[in-house]
Amino acid sequence: MAGKTLYDKIWDLHQVRRDDDGTSLLYIDRHLVHEVTSPQAFEGLEIAQRPLWRKRSILAVPDHNVPTTGLEYGITDPVAKLQVDTLDANCDKYALTEFKMGDQRQGIVHVIGPEQGATLPGMTVVCGDSHTSTHGAFAALAFGIGTSEVEHVMATQCLIQKKSKNMRVTVQGSVADGVTAKDIVLHIIGEIGTAGGTGCTIEFAGEAITSLSMEGRMTVCNMTIEAGARAGLIACDQTTLDYIEGRPFAPRGEIWQQAVEFWRDLHSDADAVFDREVVIEAADIAPQVTWGTSPEMVCSVNSRIPDPAQEADPIKAGGMQKALEYMGLEANTAFDEVAVDKIFIGSCTNSRIEDLRAAASVVKGRKLAANIKLAMVVPGSGLIKQQAEDEGLDRIFVDAGFEWREPGCSMCLGMNADRLEPGERCASTSNRNFEGRQGQGGRTHLVSPAMAAAAAVTGHFIDVRELQE
């Protein structure tokens, strides 16, 4: 019999029962909750008078709607305020662990789970948010769910699920200096497409992946959803253990040892068989920039903006043409001719300490280019903000002309006041460049934190390595 994949192992560990038609009841260890997708679930429980099955599995935090400036004035948008207030009231009522606004541990739900040690290897982790895939960096099976499923997990600690296929993306060899986790994942999406992982759980492997820090691994798994897969996974190794040890929710002492022993088996067996395998050469990856309105519309910053006329498939060419029009770009333009209006460094993809350090190292001793209207840094959590300030990173950003903000989702989705105006072009470290994602008519280019910093100080896209020499 062939060995098991990591996904198989975690699945088997959590399967409560299985019906003949292949649907399973899957046990959920960690349920992360935020203000946008939970209110109707809480209310559903109340209407049906159902108790919560396991309150301690829940960790709640408001993030999508929280303002990143003027916290002392509270939330001014009434709809947003009502959602945050409702989350607070529900958590108080059921005595759930919540990091409220103003708590230093508050931040983006996918940043604080790992930061607190609430995401552990081998767990099943769910949240009413598609970027729950982030937590797969810890060899945890993590995926987003809808509001009725949020209620289902609250009431039963389980989900009704069908198993997905196994896919492995191996990035072999090592990347060049200046090439980051964000560039790796954007390149992968460019190669396999936004539907490349549909119906699969993707395990990321290979030297370029295993040599990443946990922050980098989270960036890669975060964008698995943009490759069409609900969950991404990376095997547990010493890097994983070193990151987790000593965090508030992590086990300690004797029980830590016991856990570590168990976690060491959380990798795919050597003879495991995958339904799909993709191999990518790390050496081929240069810093990436998206040029269109889908994450797969991406290329190296050193190549020119693609030309629809060169595309053989007429449907694809049409899509490219439409994207270029929306983005206000001409085919065959070099990226260093594309001027940028705004810079956003943040989101659950790239708002961790390592991301801020990478951006700061480029910004240090430089100023924002004259054409930059606004550049903002939004740390992923209050703790990251504190750490960055302790390291003096905030001074570097502020001295260069950046705004240093409070933690939250911010301009990743423009649900709070941070938005693009129509036609504005943004170098953004977030994960989605859909039309209007960062504000109606806004033009988003996805890049790594270092690349966003390079755009900030030069006013246009540029290979960050030119500034690093």
């Binding site: 409560v16 029962r17 046990y27 209110p39 109707q40 209310e43 552990l120 009725s148 029980i255």
Partner: protein
């Protein structure tokens, strides 16, 4: 979910085909954080003479005296009679929530939009599909009566009129079982509560750090 039991209820009739979900609950109400409280905005555009916004005190708005749900005794209606392709349009589950919040337990129509039909069962609303000719007959009986009532017997799959005529309807066995036993998806999973508990016991013994 409540168990579905046989009942005798007032029938309100809306004589239009293709009533869409935006008519059932207009989109401005979807911003709500709740799944209850949609009843006052059920058929909002038809029910009120002035436009409505979420958060407003709807009791202060001008009611359309012609609209059936504003007339006595139809404020107490538990059964809604409509024409074909009921609840077409957007997939909003709010349409079901609004009907149920108002007090509707059963809809009778010749046919339904798919998503609404599925959503209904998840929430305990029974959509009965009857032959167009039978629906016609019900419409004329409702029109000629002050207080028209029907008895709905899900167990025997029968709609009984005041004069004792019985009309039978089809329903998927499994859905019928879930409604009669008050089982939604959560209810179904809860039937395996013992398995979940047994699972937890061995699970936390093996993985004590998760306890």
């Amino acid at each position: 979910m409540e168990k579905f039991t046989t009942f005798n209820g007032i029938v309100a009739a809306i004589d239009r085909p293709n009533i869409d979900t935006d008519a059932i609950i207009p989109k401005q109400y979807l911003k709500s954080i709740k799944r209850s409280g949609f009843g006052v905005n059920l058929f909002d555009d038809w029910r009120y003479l002035d436009p409505g916004e979420p958060g407003q005190d709807h009791s202060q708005r001008r009611l359309n005296p012609e609209f059936v749900l504003n007339r006595d005794p139809y404020q107490q209606a538990q059964i809604l009679l409509a024409r074909e392709n009921f609840a077409c349009g957007s997939s909003r589950e709010h349409a079901v929530w609004a009907l149920m919040d108002f007090g509707i337990k059963v809809v009778i129509a010749p046919g339904y939009a798919d998503i609404f039909y599925n959503n209904s069962f998840k929430n305990g609303l029974l959509p009965i599909a009857l032959d167009a000719a039978l629906v016609d007959r019900l419409f004329s009986e409702v029109e000629n009566s002050e207080d028209y009532r029907l008895t709905i017997d899900l167990e025997s799959q029968l709609v009984a009129t005041p004069d004792g005529t019985e009309m039978s309807f089809e329903i998927d066995e499994f859905r019928k079982y879930c409604l009669l036993n008050g089982l939604d998806d959560i209810g179904l999973t809860m039937q395996h509560a013992d398995s979940i508990e047994a699972f937890e016991q061995q699970y936390y013994e093996r993985l004590p750090w998760l306890k």
